[in-house]
Symmetry: C2
Subunit: 335 residues, 2 copies
């Protein structure tokens, strides 16, 4: 069994309370002599306070939970890293649950995290009301990250301007003279997906082009790969592809390469996220970048304001997208 506060107290010849006073620079002052004895006892016994007991007493676990779709997608991996770095710096521990876009699993994790009394929740939701009901009941600090489901006005959100970002990407393709465009979109029930599709349509109609309906696939490499394979098999004319994730973009590149289509000469590709993985693709993906550092920093700061300062008014932060030029769009070629 681990050494407890009581044993430290005994070793130092003081009461358990005093040990707490020393440890927390307690509510009460402690004499230099007693403090020294306690510190020495802590040192020799190797005492470490039990955070579970402390959490029970203080109703504060110093932990936050994050729900995200998966680890495989480079964008989410980068986001997880950025969030964890911020959490670590703020002395919070991060519990991660992946949902695999499964509402059942999301609910299960949500309940588990709430039961574990996490101080705050970072949610990249698969979307849908029922989950929000769960957190409303728990009245726990929440920040909706990366996506803001419909009906989430009551919660803080930190997102990129999805419609504008998509518009930027499509405008860029149009600027390269591409007219036979295809959009690889994400799971259709996600609000952010609909916003990106809206940006896609807006850019096309502004240019007087007909918008083919987006193809809804998963955000994964495999999703992009298969979608482009089908596209080509169907004989759809295409000289430009907008994918709503870098993972899809990487998958699309592979499918195009296998089909012997040159990028960007035959088909230009612009994707979404601006991940490092995209910068190492062949050719380098041109992508609307999400600043995951700012995303994470803002999200954690917002959460901390709610947890530590008791702020209750929801904050809505919208980040401005920036197009990161690579080689997949044709900027570096003659076109």
């Amino acid at each position: 069994m681990a050494v407890t506060r009581a044993e430290v107290a005994r070793a130092a010849g003081v009461s358990p309370a005093l040990v707490s006073y020393v440890l927390n620079d307690g509510p009460r002052p402690v004499s230099a002599d007693a403090r020294a004895r306690v510190l020495r006892a802590i040192e020799t016994l190797g005492y470490r306070p039990n955070r579970v007991a402390r959490a029970l007493r203080q109703s504060r676990t110093n932990s936050i939970a994050m729900l995200m779709p998966d680890h495989q997608n480079p964008h989410f991996a980068e986001l997880a890293q950025a969030v964890e770095d911020e959490a670590f710096a703020a002395d919070y521990v991060l519990m991660i649950g992946t949902t695999a876009n499964d509402p059942e699993r999301e609910r299960s994790y949500l309940r588990s995290f709430l039961d574990r009394q996490v101080d705050g929740l970072l949610l990249i939701s698969v979307g849908g009301r029922p989950d929000l009901d769960l957190i409303t009941g728990a009245s726990i600090p929440v920040v909706l990250l990366d996506r803001a489901p419909a009906g989430s006005d009551g919660f803080s959100t930190v997102v990129i301007d999805n419609a504008r970002a998509a518009e930027l990407a499509v405008q860029h393709l149009l600027g390269h003279g591409r007219r036979s465009l295809v959009c690889l979109s994400g799971p259709p029930h996600i609000e952010a997906v609909r916003q990106r599709e809206q940006g896609w349509r807006r850019a096309l109609s502004a240019a007087g082009c007909a918008a083919s309906p987006p193809r809804n696939v998963t955000f994964s490499r495999d999703g992009g790969y298969r979608a482009v394979q089908e596209l080509l098999a169907e004989g759809v004319p295409v000289d430009g592809i907008f994918t709503t994730s870098d993972a899809q973009g990487i998958g699309a590149l592979r499918a195009l390469a296998e089909a012997g289509r040159r990028v960007p000469e035959d088909v230009a590709v612009v994707s979404f996220d601006g991940t490092e993985a995209g910068r190492y693709a062949q050719p380098v993906l041109t992508s609307v970048a999400q600043d995951v550092g700012t995303l994470a920093r803002t999200a954690i700061a917002t959460l901390r304001a709610q947890i530590e300062a008791g702020q209750t008014a929801p904050v809505h932060e919208v980040l401005v997208p920036a197009l990161r030029i690579g080689a997949s769009c044709g900027c570096h070629a003659g076109s």
Copy 2:
């Protein structure tokens, strides 16, 4: 404030103890009538047991912690996903700490996890004794994953046969007639890195080739990229590269492409990990695959045996590497 057991008891007209009995199919039997009343009260009040309180009483948190280098590396991302899936299935929650190969950060996380009374620890260590001392003192179930630092005999390990895996990869390059080989290795203080270098040397000396010293860089894409850039700038003759991670392989591919070297015609590349990211590289990376599914399954099973069944004897599991053929080695070309 949340609903507590006492309130449920009051609402059901029973004692708090009864509520526990019902919830846990308690140590004592409960009459059907009382059980029904309790369940109804739980339902109407929306009661959820506080896991922190439960954890304090039971000295059991149903959580495990995993320390890994980072989220960016596709191999670790896949490993994290596999581990989390296993943990979720076993009703454990996973806390992830990334070390960025920083011993200080690793120690900090380690202490935090121990203080939080996690039931078990999954450790992809940056290596070095001091950390092992920390866990030895805590006498907590540990599985050393992916890497087994020197002096870790007392702990359970689940690793791939690193030397054999490297040997496989290098033999394959040699089999393609490549003789000017270069090895991009990892941080030199990691035991697994030394084992892979040993496999590299073994394969070369068995073939009667001189082994150039491995180049120690980080496991990242950037590490592979920069190493190959320097390599080429130095004018080192090279017709084959063995990278000790897929991330490095992806970086190497980019550097080679930028330098106008064709893969596999001019330079063959074989990497390590067998990630999905590698299968989407251009060309597809040939790689010695680590079965992350089995890795994760074995690790969690071992941990659970220690936690739930009190097993104490350390287990040493060594997985057999398998070469996954892609296009970067030349198998699909004429060579």
